[in-house]
């Protein structure tokens, strides 16, 4: 009873703070300084039509590198926590009933299309909404479809690790190249800016975002794979 009362008191206090915040909120009518800079300069300097992409990949590229690292750490910890024990049970896998004809055929038809769509989303990240994180999640959802079709299917750990570490290394290599050839770490102007609004434009932004997409897709797939491997026999 006392516990519930304390919870209620805490939530009421928080609600008071939120109401106070909302009363003090005045909707902005023009962009603040940093947003003004991004809006005015990202198209000219970097050639990216999608300003959110320009911010994520170039202006705040270091944040993105840190974020991808956090995601990598989370995937590694999941693999480590779930690792011990399941090797011994591998031999006595139970026989599952076969999944239906409809699901099998549809997944065979859809998996390449889903992979293609994911690649499209992260290659066009600097022109249209979307980018590496969304594309990576779409790639992982293709893996999810395969897992749903055949719950005992396993993806090669080696392939996932190679894709993941290779794209991470290339990401950092491009960042260091930016330090050598252009203004600083992760500067995207190491390649020509190109014509505004075309696929091969915006310097190295599409390249970096594709690498992020592959890395994120590999990390999500390894999370799903590790969780699927806990299947008891």
């Amino acid at each position: 009873m006392i516990r519930n009362f304390a919870v209620l008191l805490l939530l009421l206090g928080l609600a008071g703070i939120f109401i106070h915040l909302m009363q003090g909120y005045i909707p902005a009518t023009e962009l603040n300084q940093s947003a003004h800079y991004y809006a005015a300069h990202s198209a000219e300097d970097l050639g990216a039509a999608n300003i959110v992409t320009a911010i994520i990949v170039t202006y705040r590229g270091l944040d993105t590198l840190g974020e991808v690292t956090v995601l990598f750490l989370a995937a590694t910890i999941i693999g480590m926590v779930l690792a011990n024990g399941h090797k011994a049970q591998r031999s006595l896998q139970r026989q599952l009933p076969p999944s239906g004809e409809l699901l099998t055929t549809a997944s065979r038809l859809l998996t390449p299309l889903i992979l293609l769509f994911g690649a499209y989303v992260f290659v066009n990240g600097h022109l249209t909404p979307g980018g590496g994180f969304q594309g990576g999640a779409i790639l992982a959802s293709a893996a999810l479809l395969l897992l749903l079709t055949d719950p005992l299917k396993r993806f090669s750990h080696r392939l996932i690790a190679v894709v993941e570490s290779l794209s991470g290394l290339l990401f950092i290599a491009i960042g260091v190249l930016g330090m050598v050839l252009a203004g600083g770490f992760l500067d995207s102007r190491i390649l020509p800016t190109g014509a505004f609004g075309t696929l091969f434009s915006a310097g190295s932004i599409p390249l970096i975002y594709s690498l992020i997409g592959l890395k994120v897709g590999a990390e999500f797939t390894s999370m799903l794979n590790n969780l699927a491997e806990t299947e008891k026999s």
Binding site: N4, V7, L10, L11, L14, A15, F18, M22, Y25, P27, A28, T29, E30, L31, N32, S34, A35, H36, Y38, A39, A40, A43, E44, A49, N50, I51, V52, I55, I56, R60, D63, T64, E67, V70, L71, A74, A75, I77, I78, V81, L82, T128, P129, F133, F196, G197, V216, F220, M223, N226, L227, T230
Partner: protein, 119 residues
């Protein structure tokens, strides 16, 4: 007006999520409540960047480069929330992994049956 609606919804979602996380006893239910609060925080952050009568920060024929400053909304909160959503999935997956490990150790997901750290 739209930002007020979204902001209020986000704040109420945060409160509901915290209420669920503090009152439930099943670990999976606690994690579900945390994802609700997570969605609420993202909604509040995006609604702060919204401006009436402006459009998304993507330049094309409809929003030429020269008019960008007066036509688009603040892109910075969107970039932040985008990363927050991805990290949110990583955190949720980690919490679920630990919940599974706890279940493996004790065969129960009720937090009342974990007394090792209680005094």
């Amino acid at each position: 007006m739209m930002d007020w609606i979204a902001m209020t919804t986000g704040f109420i979602l945060i409160l509901m999520g915290l209420y669920g996380a503090l009152t439930h006893r099943n670990i999976l239910r606690i994690i579900v409540s945390f994802t609700l609060a997570n969605t609420g925080v993202n909604l509040v952050l995006v609604s702060v960047g919204y401006m009436l009568g402006r459009t998304a920060p993507i330049l094309d024929k409809a929003v030429p480069m020269a008019e960008a400053v007066t036509r688009i909304i603040d892109p910075l909160p969107q970039a932040l929330v985008l990363t927050a959503i991805v990290i949110g999935l990583g955190i949720t997956a980690m919490m679920l992994t630990y919940a599974y490990k706890l279940y493996e150790a004790k065969g129960s997901l009720d937090i009342a049956s974990y007394r090792e750290l209680k005094w």
